[in-house]
Symmetry: C2
């Protein structure tokens, strides 16, 4: 049974794409068959996995509107077992185009019905629009990257409310997969106070693993590589490996 | 004549709100009458200027749809000469609601016709949707905060294309006010290589002033204060003061 996980947070720059690319890579490294869907018109996940701009003409938009079969919309990556569905130029107009469609929130869910992977991760844009709604309806759970900053913390309660509304109105199986703290900077007290605040409110929904701020993680996309491949020994890559292990352990317990 | 400047970049987390709040404060400190419009449903600029959640019922959305006059939609802030139009809950639904309106891109421009300030800054959400389009149509120029990171650099050429399209189709007076480099980290080479790349492409459109990564800047919002007030001597606050001076010097030359 394919597990579909949306990686979402309407706050911008919190590490959605970085988490999507590196967690997907870590899971593929543990021999899971993984698809990463780039649902953000910015196409950062496509870049992070090295998809050339010329290879993005058939991707997420084309797959959603049915003009391209799954097998043609997905590309191999440098990572064995990891495939990516890139964001084409057309995805930019999708948000406005889909608003007036009849079943606008189930377009992605319907298209994915026959897809067979162990995990499908969906990298969402920084907004709570139709594209992110499609991801939340297609997914069984939501993984929330949370930057250890005040504005990011402020948006969390709104995001949890939105997930509850989607669960009640569109997708009764949608649950919170977990919250992963990102860009944790041990040199300043702000990170520590955000962590304390989130753990006190959400308890074991917050992963024990914390992703540190690590420049090697932000350098990797300029080489079209996940941090795991660019610099496996870096603190950021190692943290994503630990996250994958923690997620798998939690699944075994269920 | 009121100068209206949109602070926009579809990439998330690049410092739009932080630039809007601190530049607006710096201009107000130099005795300009300034309004900051929070056009992001997240309401971060409203938080950054200390507007309580209970004080946000009349704000940007209500002003745009005409259910609230300008004088009731704007609030005083701790900074003399600086006013803020907060983001109310209703703004969350505006993106989808406005898509089907007839003159959907000129709603904000029309509403602002009688507003009299020296500067109006508009803090935009991380997306290129109807709300950001309204800001680009209402504004005379766009100020682009650019985080010194690879994904942020990747989105810049797309953003410049979008500005050109808006200039040609909706707002012939729209120009690029400038690009401000944010969260510059002198400890790593990535920041320096992004700076070199941007200056070589855009020349004097990139401000000489660079905003350093400075934890005091990210602590300030938790106190509902601009960094300029929270810690005036901090490197971040001083950089925003220099930016305001540089912008005013450029205007005098014109
Ligand atoms: N652990 C980390 N250490 C250092 N830099 C990081 C880390 N995680 C992410 N970054 C950098 O921070 C920036 C924001 O991260 P990213 O783009 O993944 O966030 P996002 O939530 O996907 O943004 P958007 O809202 O635009 O989609 C990127 O430039 C990325 O390289
Ligand atoms: N110069 C700086 N030094 C340190 N932290 C900063 C700096 N500028 C911004 N930040 C922090 O980085 C985060 C992102 O900044 P900000 O929220 O202003 O970006 P944004 O572009 O408005 O994000 P969004 O796309 O969600 O609207 C915030 O937590 C902010 O406090
Ligand atoms: Mg992203
Ligand atoms: Mg913002």
């Amino acid at each position: 049974m394919t597990k579909i996980i949306a990686i979402a947070n309407q706050k911008g720059g919190v590490g959605k794409t970085t988490t999507a690319v590196n967690l997907a890579t870590a899971m593929a490294a543990i021999q899971k068959k993984v698809l990463l869907i780039d649902l953000d018109p910015q196409g950062n996940a496509s870049t992070g996995l090295g998809v050339a701009y010329t290879d993005r003409t058939q991707g997420t938009y084309e797959f959603m509107v049915g003009s391209c079969a799954l097998s043609r919309a997905i590309k191999k990556t440098v990572v064995p077992n990891l495939f990516v569905m890139p964001a084409s130029e057309e995805l930019r107009g999708a948000e406005i185009e889909f608003v007036t469609e009849k079943n606008r929130e189930v377009i992605l869910k319907t298209a994915l019905e026959s897809a067979e992977f162990d995990y499908i991760y969906i990298d969402c844009p920084p907004a709570m629009g139709i594209l992110t709604l499609n991801a939340l309806v297609a997914a069984q759970s939501v993984l929330i990257p949370l930057q250890c900053e005040y504005y990011a913390l402020e948006g969390l309660s709104q995001l949890l409310k939105t997930i509850k509304i989607v669960n009640e109105n569109f997708n009764p199986r949608l649950s919170l997969e977990g919250v992963i703290l990102t860009m944790f900077d041990s040199r300043n007290s702000l990170s520590a106070s955000v962590e304390k605040d989130v753990r006190s409110h959400l308890g074991d929904k917050v992963y024990t693993t914390v992703i540190p701020r690590n420049v090697r993680v932000s350098e990797a996309p300029s080489h079209g590589l996940p941090a795991m491949i660019y610099d496996f020994k870096s603190s950021g890559a190692q943290a994503y490996m630990r996250l994958a292990t923690e997620i798998l352990k939690k699944e075994e317990k269920v």
